[in-house]
């Protein structure tokens, strides 16, 4: 068996008295899409935020490419080529699209000043690929529609040659057409060999896009299944009841 790209082992974190993630283990292989499902508050965002360096885990281990990784900040995660599209998008509303895209990784001139013209040109290029309708390059992102903001967040994750991509409800603000574009993008990136953690509430979409799905409930992992082994109903009962009827029957 090949070494997983990401191996999360027995991850736990509590906020005050709430055990937001409770002893969860998950892995992800290159070229694989693993879906995370569960009710609001199940702990999905918190789990992936531990991988992206936004939260420090209380216990557990993160292994990347077969080596134990210390991820204590978003900067660390970026060093491991982990890119994240956060549920909240994490955009600075007062800055324009290219400032957001390059935030924390600005292109600079030989003198060390930020090179806005080059960043804007790069933004134009990647947006032409991701969202050809995107024109408002030099306006603050607060002036953009939900879909456009989402495409800025996606562009930021895709631009920097991620090996591990985390997408927390990337299609939440999107219409049918744009959702399809994101699905195509996921397939394209998967074909390029990226490992993708995808969080979504759309069970059908998840069964179509993912290789495996993991279900969480109240911070704990209910189970991980290969999509060909489960039906939509199986997943729904895992989400709602916290168990897989087929496995229980077996």
């Amino acid at each position: 068996m090949s070494t997983p790209l990401v191996d999360l082992r027995n991850i736990s974190i509590s906020f005050g008295g709430v055990r937001a993630v409770d002893n969860v283990s998950l892995d992800l292989k290159p070229g694989e899409v693993v879906g995370l499902l569960g009710h609001n508050g199940a702990g999905k965002s918190t789990l992936i935020k531990i991988l992206s360096g936004a939260y420090a885990k209380d216990s557990g281990e993160i292994w990347i490419d077969g080596e134990k990784a210390e991820i204590n900040s978003p900067r660390d995660a970026r060093r491991y080529n982990i890119e994240t599209i956060y549920q909240t998008l994490a955009l600075a509303d007062n800055l324009d699209a290219s400032s957001n895209l390059f935030l924390g990784r600005e292109l600079t001139t030989p003198l060390g000043f930020v090179d806005d013209a080059r960043m804007e040109a790069e933004t134009k290029k990647i947006m032409a690929r991701l969202n050809p309708n995107f024109k408002k390059l030099s306006e603050p992102v607060s002036a953009l529609s939900g879909g456009q903001r989402q495409s800025v967040a996606i562009a930021r994750a895709v631009y920097f040659n991620a090996k591990i991509l985390i997408m927390d409800e990337p299609t939440a603000a999107l219409g049918v057409h744009e959702t399809k574009m994101v699905a195509d993008l996921i397939k394209e990136l998967k074909a390029q060999g990226l490992g993708i953690f995808l969080i979504s509430h759309d069970t059908r979409e998840m069964l179509e896009l993912c290789d495996r799905v993991s279900v969480m409930k109240n911070g704990a992992l209910v189970g991980t299944e290969r999509v060909e082994d489960v039906t939509e109903d199986d997943i729904l009962s895992m989400i709602i009841l916290g168990k897989n009827p087929k496995r229980d029957a077996a």
């Binding site: 994490a90 400032s99 935030l103 060390g112 013209a117 804007e120 309708n133 057409h177």
Partner: protein, 428 residues
Amino acid sequence: MSDTTHAPPKRNFVQSLEIDTRLLGMIGAFILVCLVFNVLTDGRFLTPRNIFNLTIQTVSVAIMATGMVFIIVTRHIDLACGALLATCSALMAMTQTVYLPDWVGLPLGHPAIPYIAIAVGLIAGTAIGAFQGYLVGYLTIPAFIVTLGGLLVWRNVGWYLTSGATIGPLDGTFMKLGGINGTLGATWSWILGLIAVAAALWGLYASRRNKIAHDFPVKPAWAEAINAAIIAGGILGFIAILNSYQIPQGRLKRIFEAAGQELPEGYTASYGLPFSVLLLIAVAVTMTVIAKKTRLGRYIFATGGNPDAAELSGINTRMLTVKVFALMGALCALSAVVASARLTNHSNDIGTLDELRVIAAAVIGGTALSGGIGTIHGAILGALIMQSLQSGMAMVGVDAPLQNMVVGTVLVLAVLIDIIYRKRTGAK
């Protein structure tokens, strides 16, 4: 992603110039204030002499206001800047009159004294600022509380340094940074003005060339030309006004006598650009470059716009807070140089209430207390508007209490107008 493509909107005259309408409004307000006071004072307000005085009175608050922009943009506040100015001023005054002459043995008037004193002040200001930033950033005490405490602490640290005494006269070279005692004279002022115009034109040209190189739209050439003409006219006009303020004959006579010469018949000279104003210009340019062209500036605005996003983008927002407060501390020290040099001594009440003037200047200048928005030139213009109001009212003979009431009202009105403006234009 679902937006339909629009025909490019028709651009009116102002839009073609791409001048910030908000800035235009502020300049308009400033001109209005000047004209009204000029009428009320029978033309005494807009004389070269008064404009000269107005500029040198504005410098100290304006320097700190540029730092306050970064503080407020990152969603903090600094109530301690006036008190920090007092501590720096006290320390520099003691360094040049007591510590260096008495403890180190440099005789009074030694050429190194002013520079050592300024360095000591800058180091102290930066360190104190950084310390306050540490309390805010790392220990997460709200800036309001840290600097409210600082307001009480630093003013009285200043008091203890001098045992409450007024310290003066200060070093002669040091006092050249106060305003009227150190000016460039007409020729150098013109030379500097021309260099500034050349630099501004080159900047406009370089930015246009850069945009064209990357295939971005540029404004029409005529608009660019008008912009350039306004900038050049503004710079040279300002120099012309300052240069037309003549040094009084009595003072010239004393200057010549001090040099052992006699004042030639019919000889005149003008003050020209004061060194303190030059310092303000240097600060303004540096701070604008930091804001627009450096990562530090980018992170300051990103953090103000969305602290969580900044953190998730790998920005060390705690360290950023330390840097912003340290920068403010250094600027307080610079202001302390200008303020004490202008008064020719250090007194205990130096910089009293400056924190409020500085905050008001930044806010009138368009800095949003909700964070993420503000400009350096706006804050300086804000400081100038405040000082004009205050000086104008004093010239008209308005009572001091009423002056304060007017300034307070203007502050609140300015913010109200800003809120209405932002709602209208849909900007946040």
